[in-house]
Amino acid sequence: MFEFLFKYPSSVFSKGDFVMLAPLPLWTLAVAVIAAAAFLAWHMNRNRGLLRGARPAAIWVLQTALVALVLFLLWHPAISIATLRPQQNIIAVLVDDSRSMATKDGAGGTKTRLEEAVGVLNHGVIDRVGERFQVRLYRFGKAVERIGKPAELTAAGGASRIGDSLKQAMAEASTLPLGAVVLLSDGADNSGGIDLETIAAIRQKRIPVHAVGFGKEKFDRDVEIDEVILPARTLADSRLNAQVTLRQNGYEKRKARLSVREGNKVLATSEVTLKSDGAPQTETLLFNAGMVGARTFQVSVDPLDGEQNTANNALSRLVSVESVKPRVLYFDGEPQWEFKFIRRAIEEDRSLGLVTMIRMTQNKIYRQGVDKPKELEDGFPTKADELFAYQALVFGSVEANYFTTAQQELIREFANRRGGGVIFLGGRATLGDGGYLRSPLAEMLPVQIPDKKGTFHREEASAELTPVGRESLICRLEERPEKNAERWKKMPVMADYQEVGDPKPGAVVLLETFAPGRRKLPLLAIQNYGRGRTAVFATSGSWRWQMQQPLSDKTHEMFWQQFLRWAIADTPGRVHASTPRPVLSDETSVKLRAEVRDKNFKMVPSAKVEARIVGPEGTSAVVEMNPVPDQDGVYAGEWAAEKPGSYVAEVVALQDKEETRDAIAFRREDGVAENFHTGQNRELLEKLAESTGGRYYTPAEASTLADRISYSEAGLTVRDTKDLWDMPIVFFLALLLRSGEWVLRRKWGVV
């Protein structure tokens, strides 16, 4: 319709420059229009006849508009636009040859996407575009390959990497006059989209990408696991919380079963009710990480009846279950029952090491769990390297000024710089009653501290889960959330509680305490602080959960083990290795990153860092990791995992003749990525086309591509001038103005 009215496609107007071809300056047009308007006004005033009121003005407006239109055309308006020189430019045609193109949902379900694409190539692109330009045909999946004819397309590629493919195609044609790119794809990109860098590179070269999209945007009946989020590493026997995002079409309000498996062993299941069509839905699954090693967990949703694509019902994730035994330092200022029961709870956890110091008398600190007799012999650490050897700190009933100002600052830095977890428990000599408000420690607490004494009460109080607490792994005593909430309601009362203030911005309250006759107060609050995390658990009376419940009940142990695991879970070592994609889906390139710190956890910019990689079938390699510019202490490296399977990379940093290390696991999986996001990603194709100056076409519209492709500023171009005076819209507008006047005069009876 646009082209019918305006003679040219819209891209001509959006890309071209508007010009007036008459030899007269533009102001003369304005003068002529004003003069004509004045003359018509004078004329209307003299010959108004029976016209009264505003009617002469209306007629004058229509007449003036018509005269202005004619004058405008006399000044010869036109569009100046760059067009590709025929036969001198190359058009790169990239055809998606991945497996998703074999989906039979093209042309109303009668053809595969690829068949439909080949049809478009043969009847509109290669033939018609080829008449004016040289066409280079490529197929792409994981990589780009030039082909001679459409018959070479097989839809067998393991993945679609649109961004990488565009870059490769442009690189190959960098010395040629590339005028435009035509992309035929379903947009099902497996690399997580097209990065801004690629788009910027295309824009810089001013090469328009015209995209033709194939396939249905969504299946009629399908459930897909969209994403599974799991930590990259954890401790042995840890509980893991898999956050599973799924989408469905055609099964709204139906029940589906989610499962986590390791091999054939089912670790956890959950029945969920599916939400509305197309809407992302996030569910959680709790399971035990098991023993040490690189473990692959598969999260799946059972196929539903009539489901069109069941290959996208499962996703795998790799978790490195580490053999390290993090050490927690627990300092208490006085003997308390809580101390003994926390120790007992953590003793049950083989993956946690607990070192304790308890002030028995004014002059005697009793140590337990130390590795060597000298450890902590001189009291609470005064040096960073000594304190930072632990992964988490727990403070019981100890007043702030027991620690020197330097020690208080060290504790703050333990969370802030070292990235450790720090837990403050309630007690008669801590928090508000321990002078914390006026110490550097106040800043790191997740709650405000009341400016008063007498905040600690030896009165029985109950613990209640907050809505956030229901989702927290710390408070998860049962797999199912509703059962967990019930269990917390039946929890025995605690022996005491401590008043604390409101949570600080960014902190979350997982448990509240409620004593008869008093308002609810935060009991367990957590927050991220610097690189680490801090928590306040405002009681020293949770030991009642152990003594008041049957021997078989493991509530107390579970709570404390999960609490301390939270405290140490993300505490990095001196070398912290990571990779953005622990699972390489149909790709080989693995990027490794490492942060290297010294004993005081200050960045080390001059270490020698290498990754020692071992993989399937005896694969081994040493990859040198180089400093990342402008990021002190950060090193990066890249390696190609040629074989599918699990790999372990041990990143070793050599600094001052001392080696420190960290290990990460990653896995290459082939033939999986193409099963996901198989619906046409029209949004991605449209955005790509729009941001590069091209256009998105449906297969039916693709026949117009040949006419529009020549408008490009890339390649070898010539400026073309397109007259506008003969656009049909001009004729219709003139007719409308004249007939409008006639209709009004008829209506008013003054014809």
């Binding site: 006085e334 003994k340 308890i358 005697k364 009642r544 419940q549 021997l551």
Partner: protein
């Protein structure tokens, strides 16, 4: 006559005062073995209280008419906790807590003291409860029983508490003897019955034993002071003729047992 009236009024006032101070705690005034002054801060809520186990004792009664659980009660308890308060940072109540083995209150007091256990006679339910208490995290110190007969009597009940656990001598290297005070060189702490005789043992209990029952993690859960009477040492520590070294040892053993139970 006037004199007797005055004494009766005094006694009545004492009972009323004691009862008032015992608010929140069940009163066992009638069963007291050796009454003591009720401290002004008796109502203070603390982390620790000396919890005396009230158990059935098969007819054996103390001087004041209570069961054998009440021997030395409450004077020994109140004198001992004065030492605990002075010598440690433990927030300690100035008066004891009597805990009946038949109630659920036992689970609120993770440290228990049982005296004259050579006379105790636990039924199956009580034995089961005590076992449950100890395995959940409780600690029991037994004291003041002597000789073969009382040992057998003690074990008759204790073997029902822990049919599958052995009573062993606690090694002097065990942390329980070093945690706060080093107690390598221990002596027999005598009861008041042998006072002045120069003999430190009762019946055929000539050799003192510090025995224990350990849990699966190697922690002492029952500390058995056999052929010795720490309770009397606490009770008579204020007596000028009670040997100072023995009273001191009794305090140190008791304190070590308490802080051990709060750290293990």
């Amino acid at each position: 006559m006037r004199h007797k009236t005055f004494i009766a009024a005094g006694l009545a006032l004492f009972v009323i005062t004691a009862s008032f101070a015992q608010r929140g705690r069940r009163s066992y005034v009638d069963e007291e073995d050796n009454p003591a002054v009720m401290p002004a801060d008796a109502g203070e809520k603390t982390e620790y209280a000396f919890a005396r186990l009230r158990y059935p004792s098969g007819g054996r009664r103390s001087y004041w008419g209570g069961g054998s659980w009440a021997i030395d009660y409450p004077k020994a308890d109140r004198q001992f906790v004065q030492g605990v308060r002075r010598l440690t940072r433990l927030h300690t109540r100035s008066v004891e807590q009597v805990v009946d083995i038949d109630g659920e209150e036992i689970y609120n007091w993770p440290w228990l003291y049982a005296v004259e256990v050579g006379n105790w006679s636990l039924n199956d339910a009580q034995a089961k409860k005590l076992r449950d208490y100890l395995l959940r995290g409780g600690f029991l110190m037994t004291d003041d029983f002597h000789g073969t007969y009382e040992w057998d009597s003690f074990m008759a009940s204790m073997s029902r508490v822990f049919p599958d656990r052995q009573v062993v001598e606690i090694d002097s290297k065990d942390p329980i003897f070093h945690l706060l005070y080093d107690l390598d060189n221990r002596v027999q702490v005598p009861g008041i019955v042998t006072f002045g005789s120069g003999v430190t043992y009762e019946r055929d209990g000539i050799v003192p034993h510090w025995r224990g029952i350990y849990d699966d993690k190697g922690r002492v859960v029952v500390a058995i002071c056999f052929n010795q009477d720490n309770g009397d040492a606490w009770e008579w520590a204020d007596h000028p003729r009670y040997p100072e070294n023995m009273a001191s040892q009794a305090y140190r053993v008791g304190i070590n047992y308490i802080v051990y139970s709060m750290t293990h």
